[in-house]
């Protein structure tokens, strides 16, 4: 394994010198490739890759853009990288099999779903200590946080609930039953709607966070695509709350949903088995990870068009774009 790693590092070093300073970097975890591919958000070209531990899946970045966090699922820890140098700076304890996580809006702490252990682990990113372990349902996966930072949402894939966790007390204050295999939880920026995707159920539950009840269930219907292939996973909401993008897995489409009426407006054809989504900071672009075609599709958000696909590593899983 030493040889490929050394080669990666070399390629990266060579390319970085030519990178314009203003572009943002897009980081994509490759679950089977055990590395992270780096894309330039302006040129939309791959500028390199670096090793990221075993089975990297969830990925996020601190609000100040100084720390890049990767769930190294088979290493049972979170690896922290300097986004500038791509060097690993330290690791964080995560509990077993971390899959997805979410940062508190302030950048600390980090809330991690431990898929094998029915726990959400809370970790202080500065002291690197575990602050709490919160028992949740079977196979916790999706992690969302309210814009005011008061609630963290965990979805459990086999229990089929969205658990509302109070970030002060670490207690579960409400459980909302949703359709089968909830994968992802995403608030709109106003905090008035919480979107929970259900992979096997094929729906997105729109939850009113104030009452913790489902107000609407969004279904999807694509001509020529079998209903079983429509499997909602990742979701992102534009900052004005008006447009919601939902990755539909093996349907190879990203659904565009009206954030006000909860109606599906359009379906965009992307690569195969699309799972996670990430906006560029200006929300000009949305990047999608396509696990079966090993590429990233770039969506022009305003035009609602797929403008490019970029080959990355083996089985791309998560994506985050640096804020600066």
């Amino acid at each position: 394994m030493t040889l490929p790693v050394a080669r990666h590092a070399l390629i990266l070093t060579l390319c970085l010198a030519a990178t314009p300073v203003l572009a943002n970097r897009v980081f994509v975890t490759n679950e089977k490739g055990n590395d992270v591919t780096v894309i330039d958000s302006e040129t939309l070209e791959v500028i390199g890759s670096f090793p990221a531990g075993n089975r990297p899946r969830g990925i996020t970045i601190s609000p100040d853009g100084k720390e890049l966090y990767v769930c190294a699922s088979d290493d049972d820890l979170v690896r922290v990288f300097d986004p500038e140098t791509m060097q690993e700076t330290h690791t964080l304890p995560s509990g077993p099999d971390p899959e997805l996580f979410v940062l508190h809006p302030s950048g600390n702490p980090l809330y991690i779903a431990n898929e094998d252990d029915n726990l959400v682990t809370v970790v202080d990113t500065e002291t690197r200590q575990v602050l709490a372990e919160i028992p949740v349902g079977v196979e916790p996966e999706g992690m969302g946080v309210s814009p005011d930072g008061k609630f963290v949402i965990n979805t459990s894939e086999t229990t089929n609930m969205a658990h509302f966790i109070d970030t002060e007390t670490y207690e579960i204050v409400a459980n909302v039953l949703v359709d089968s295999r909830p994968r992802f939880a995403q608030y709109n920026d106003a905090g008035t709607k919480l979107y929970v995707t259900s992979e096997i159920g094929g729906t997105v539950s729109v939850i009113d966070p104030a009452t913790q009840t489902i107000t609407t269930k969004i279904g999807f219907d694509i001509p020529g695509v079998l209903p079983e292939a429509i499997q909602p996973v990742g979701a992102r909401v534009t900052s004005d709350g008006k447009t919601v993008f939902v990755a539909l897995g093996p349907a190879n489409r990203v659904a565009v949903v009206d954030g006000e009426t909860d109606e599906v407006i359009d379906y965009l054809l992307v690569g195969q088995r699309v799972w996670q989504l990430g906006f560029s900071p200006d929300q000009k672009y949305l990047f999608t990870t396509n696990g079966n075609s090993n590429d990233v599709s770039v969506i022009d958000v305003a035009a609602r068009e797929v403008i490019k696909s970029i080959p990355v590593g083996q089985q791309p899983w998560g994506v985050v774009v640096a804020p600066n």
């Binding site: 099999d97 094998d116 726990l119 349902g137 196979e139 894939e157 089968s180 079983e228």
Partner: protein, 396 residues
């Protein structure tokens, strides 16, 4: 562990329960049983497939853990009594379970015993068949009180046939064993060939004459016998073995007269589960099972897990612990369950068979999953596998 429990209890106390009401402080108990009927017989051809003491039960234990974790949020607690029997004692054991008021019994038994237990039970319990594959149990001998979690022979044969036809391997040389269950499986392959446009060029009977199989010189005999047995067959693309009794099929790969792949009971084998399956979140499921049982998950474990998860899912969705409500819910068109197969699994109303994708497996890997994309169906692609509504012989 202690700390976790404290946090959990605190969480429960604070839970306002907006979507349902808690039924008092004590959780409601939902009881089930797993009845495994073991019959004496030859050991399997490969010692890698020797039965384990906890076969099936380990799957039940994982299901109860999963159900209980969810149950904590619902005020529900689950239990599965584990019972082993022989075909002679199965009826008495079932009587005990019924007398104890258990209304959900997962049965791991052969076709005849499963049917007898279903008839004995009547409307006193719901039988969840987690082993028997006979098509008659879903056809002429179907029973309203039985849900078939295990896939049928017809589903297995159709799953394999779709793949072989997609490969354009349409000429099959069928070898069947001499036991009644081999005959059932062979019939399923004949039906699948007709259904998907394949041709059986010859059907040959492998007579089970007894004799040593796993002696120290067994492989020498096999290397001589199998080529001789398979010679002078008409031109064929693939050899299909129907050997439910596990007498000869495992000896066929690489020992055939003609250099042809083997499928069916050996070679490319259709299964409900395989321990190397990693798609659709299965990795974490395999991990959880292996941590609990200290071994790989087998089909009996998967099917038992799935049967008890169906019960758990019904309890969560119906928000009830009333056995009558749960039975109705499982048999209703609102019921669906996730089983790490990439899509929801539902129950066919015409014969109570659980719809499910079938894995096509080689020794160490899953090679493909059926239904294959090319085979279309007006209602569900899963209904391209097995006996569809218009052809069912079942009437409840």
């Amino acid at each position: 562990m202690f700390r976790r429990i404290i946090i959990l209890l605190a969480g429960l106390a604070a839970m306002s329960g907006p979507a349902w009401s808690q039924q008092g402080a004590d959780p409601v108990l939902i009881r089930a049983a797993v009845l495994r009927v073991d019959n004496p017989g030859l050991p399997p051809i490969s010692r890698l497939e020797l039965p384990t003491e906890d076969l099936g039960f380990a799957g039940a234990r994982l299901a109860i853990e999963d159900n209980d974790t969810t149950g904590r949020f619902m005020g529900q607690d689950f239990e599965a009594v584990e019972v082993t029997a022989t075909s002679d004692t199965a009826a008495a054991e079932m009587d005990k379970l019924l007398a104890d008021g258990i209304q959900f019994v997962v049965v791991l038994a052969d076709d005849a015993t499963t049917l007898a237990l279903a008839d004995q039970t009547g409307d006193r319990a719901l039988i969840l068949n987690a082993q028997a594959r006979g098509d008659n149990l879903r056809g002429a001998d179907c029973r309203f009180n039985t849900v078939h979690v295990a896939p049928s022979h017809a589903m297995m044969a159709d799953a394999l046939a779709q793949f072989l036809v997609w490969k354009q391997w349409q000429d099959w040389f069928l070898i069947k064993g001499s036991h009644p269950q081999d005959q059932d499986l062979a019939q399923a392959f004949q039906r699948a060939a007709t259904k998907f446009g394949a041709k059986i060029v010859e059907e040959r009977l492998y007579e089970d004459t007894g004799g040593a199989r796993r002696t120290d010189s067994g492989h020498v005999q096999v290397q001589k016998q199998m080529p001789v047995f398979t010679q002078r067959a008409p031109e064929h693309d693939v050899l299909i073995a129907a050997d439910e009794a596990d007498i000869f099929a495992a000896y066929l790969p690489y020992q055939t007269w003609d250099p042809r792949p083997v499928a069916g009971s050996a070679g490319l084998v259709p299964r409900s589960w395989h321990p190397a399956m990693e798609a659709w979140g299965a990795t974490q499921f395999q991990n959880r099972f292996e941590k609990l049982a200290g071994r790989n998950m087998r089909e009996a474990d998967y099917q038992t897990w799935l049967a008890l998860r169906m019960l758990g899912e019904a309890a969560t969705r119906s928000q009830s612990a009333d056995p009558a409500v749960l039975k109705d819910f499982i048999l209703s068109d609102r019921f669906e369950v996730a089983g790490f197969k990439g899509q929801k699994l539902t129950v066919r109303d015409w014969d109570h068979q659980l719809r499910q994708p079938i894995l096509l497996t080689t020794g160490l890997l899953m090679a493909s999953v059926s239904p294959q994309d090319q085979f279309l169906h007006q209602t569900s692609a899963l209904d391209t596998l097995g006996i569809d509504r218009p052809e069912t012989e079942c009437s409840f």
